[in-house]
């Protein structure tokens, strides 16, 4: 029996492309705004809107806690949410390797459907390309999205101010750790570690219900929380004081990092925000966050200072001050 796979023909733009779209994508994404044209025409209410795009090439494409489909929705939804924007519409572009199993594509689309529904966002446009064997690694997805910015929201990476508290919305490094293990290169298993991949619009909405006095929200994805801290220190021209003891890290992630000599602060997250807000409102924000489904471990991990501009200074477990090492290229396990 012939195996049901994506073929080059599915990406050729003809009848089979339409068939693929009808059969898989439209079946999952259909809604009144879903377009068959090259772009969706959308009615926006003349308010400020946010627009973002992100490409996903995670290998393996499925992992404990999610798959590339869920990830592709969360990534763009969270990017929009960081601007205080309610995600409204998404587009998605697929590059699929010839021979990719159709049932896996279904699973991916179903995860996208479910995640988009949770985030209250509609997938309104898409593109499908099929690449020859070996030209891509199984499946790549790019999503773009627009969101409507809430009236009381005004966030930017340049708005961090001395005196701000820094909150992380959950334990760090889960996604990066999950992917590392899913690649099965090191023979390590951590049954309790799964990806933190989650759509965070609801979380952001709750934060703004608590206070509109939020300066920066950033999604800690590739490069992890450590990279975000350095980005904000540079963009806002401030220093950052990090209390390493208060950074939440799950036991399993600690164990894996211990085995491989990695720093959890530099492992990717896909469902964690780093929030900068005045110290006065921070405790209330943390309280709110801990009631939300994806931020039960939210914690204040540091503060913004006026000196040490562009640097992240860490208080270590012995109470000494040292720099958090800057993020650097490829994560290479340090073993010997």
């Amino acid at each position: 029996m012939k195996q049901d796979t994506v073929t080059l023909a599915h990406g050729a733009g003809g009848a089979q492309t339409s068939e693929l779209i009808d059969r898989v994508f439209k079946a999952h994404f259909a809604n009144p705004d879903f377009t068959g044209d090259d772009a969706a025409v959308l009615s926006l209410s003349g308010k400020k809107m946010a627009f973002s795009t992100d490409g996903f090439i995670v290998s393996p494409f499925e992992f404990p806690g999610g798959n590339i489909g869920k990830l592709s929705i969360c990534g763009t939804v969270n990017d929009l949410a960081c601007m205080g924007a309610k995600p409204k519409y998404l587009s998605c572009a697929f590059v699929i390797e010839e021979g990719f199993p159709m049932d896996k594509l279904e699973e991916i689309a179903a995860a996208m459907e479910k995640t988009a529904a949770e985030a209250g966002v509609r997938i309104v446009a898409g593109d499908t390309k099929v690449a020859g064997k070996g030209q891509v690694d199984k499946i790549f997805i790019t999503t773009s999205g627009v969101g409507e910015i809430m009236e009381n929201a005004n966030t930017s990476g340049t708005y961090a101010k001395p005196g701000d508290a820094i909150i992380v919305t959950g334990d760090v490094g889960r996604h990066g750790c999950t992917i590392l293990l899913a690649r099965d290169e090191f023979g390590i298993e951590a049954p309790d570690v799964d990806s933190d991949c989650a759509p965070l619009w609801g979380t952001v909405e709750e934060m703004f219900k608590t206070t509109s006095d939020i300066h920066v929200i950033r999604d800690a994805t590739r490069g992890g929380v450590g990279t975000v801290l350095y980005e904000i220190a540079e963009q806002s021209k401030v220093g950052i004081k990090l209390d390493s003891k208060s950074v939440p890290v799950a036991d399993g992630v600690k164990g894996v990092c211990g085995m491989l000599g990695l720093e959890p602060l530099y492992l990717a997250c896909e469902g964690r925000l780093v929030v900068f807000a005045p110290a006065e409102v921070a405790p209330a924000l943390v309280e709110t966050l801990r009631k939300c489904p994806y931020s039960k471990n939210a914690a204040i991990i540091g503060e913004v200072i006026a000196d040490q501009v562009g640097k992240v200074v860490m208080t270590t477990e012995i109470g000494a001050q040292t720099l958090l090492p800057r993020p650097g290229g490829e994560l290479l396990p340090r073993i010997c």
Partner: protein
């Protein structure tokens, strides 16, 4: 820990230079910020105990040659991938299509060889006494199971001769905890007889501070000393089975250390009976004479003779993203630690 920290912080005796020999100590000391709490008269110097850092350029060149041969897979511990050779690095070779895998254990390289019998799998065997038994176990198992497509490229080093070379670099040594797990502590007793002081130290904040506190206290007594401050895993007799497998598979040889030159009998190579697993012989590699950047001062830094900031390349041409010398590559390298954890 508080007690140990207090002793170290409040030291006010004669100036003391303490060399941490082990790269993992260097890394942890910087990560914990221990140098920042030391008084003026207590100085920590980083020694040559980062295996990646002391591996000479010529070795990297050989590994690259092997990587670029047809049908080979190179298995290595992570850090080695970015160390510059004369022309390029293993990362450079990888971008030209070489297959290079990071492994957690030499055993994983052997398992890969078993899985892929059509490929030649070469494990880059660097590291000190702690790491050698694993490589030896892999070779032993390969021979026993008749796995022919596995070999190792050795640049393994042992510490005893290096202490002689470093004799005058410090007033006391922080001896490497995990090397000592294997070797035991007799060597340190002997060194004490020769007037060389030191303590074996573990790697947690508490263990490092305790070891430093003991050094501070013992130094005040004015006699050469040795103390095992890591007795939970370091036993006087070491790990006899580990030493046995090392002695069975490998034998001492002269070895080149980046920065220190050739130190007689400071390396290990495969014994005759196991030479078929020596990648250098199997692939008939020509001798290489690797050349590093002449301005790079890794050598002096490894001897504790100068500090990274004295090097004209440090932080300018040579950074963790674009390393010139090995000490900037490895997370355990002195230059990398200085750069990453910065002076505030």
């Amino acid at each position: 820990m508080l007690e140990a920290k207090k002793i170290v912080e409040s030291y006010s005796g004669r100036p003391l230079r303490v060399m941490e020999v082990c790269g993992t100590h260097t890394h942890e000391i910087f990560r914990l910020g221990i140098r920042k709490i030391l008084p003026e008269n207590l100085k920590l110097i980083s020694g040559p105990g980062c295996p990646v850092c002391v591996t000479p350029v010529g070795y990297i060149d050989k590994a690259i040659q092997l990587a670029l041969m047809e049908n080979t897979i190179i298995c290595t511990f992570g850090d080695l991938i970015r160390v510059p050779g004369t022309e390029t690095s293993l990362a450079g070779a990888r971008s030209k299509g070489a297959e290079i895998r990071t492994v957690y254990s030499p055993m994983d390289a052997l398992a890969l060889a078993k899985d892929q019998p059509e490929k030649q799998v070469i494990f880059l065997s660097v590291g000190f006494e702690t790491t050698v038994p694993g490589a030896c176990l892999a070779v032993k198992r390969a021979k026993k199971s008749g796995i022919k497509n596995f070999s190792i490229l050795t640049a393994n080093k042992t510490m005893p001769m290096a202490y002689n070379a470093l004799h005058d670099s410090a007033d006391a040594f922080l001896f490497p905890g995990h090397v000592s797990v294997i070797t035991g502590t007799k060597l340190y007793e002997d060194l004490r007889e020769k007037g060389v002081s030191g303590v074996v130290a573990g790697f947690t904040a508490e263990e490092v501070l305790t070891a430093l506190a003991v050094i501070v206290q013992e130094s005040q007594k004015g006699k050469p000393f040795f103390r095992n401050c890591y007795p939970t895993v370091v036993k006087p007799e070491g790990n006899p089975l580990a030493m046995q497998v090392t002695a069975e598979i490998m034998e001492p040889c002269d070895s080149e250390w980046r920065g220190l030159g050739v130190i007689p009998q400071s390396g290990l190579k495969l014994r005759k009976e196991y030479q078929e697993y020596d990648a250098e012989l199997r692939f008939n590699l020509p001798p290489t004479e690797g050349r590093g950047n002449p301005a790079c001062r890794c050598g002096e830094i490894l001897r504790g003779d100068c500090c990274p900031k004295d090097c004209p390349l440090f932080g300018k041409v040579c950074t963790p993203l674009h390393p010139v010398g090995a000490c900037m590559v490895s997370g355990e390298g002195t230059c990398s630690a200085y750069y990453q954890y910065g002076e505030l």
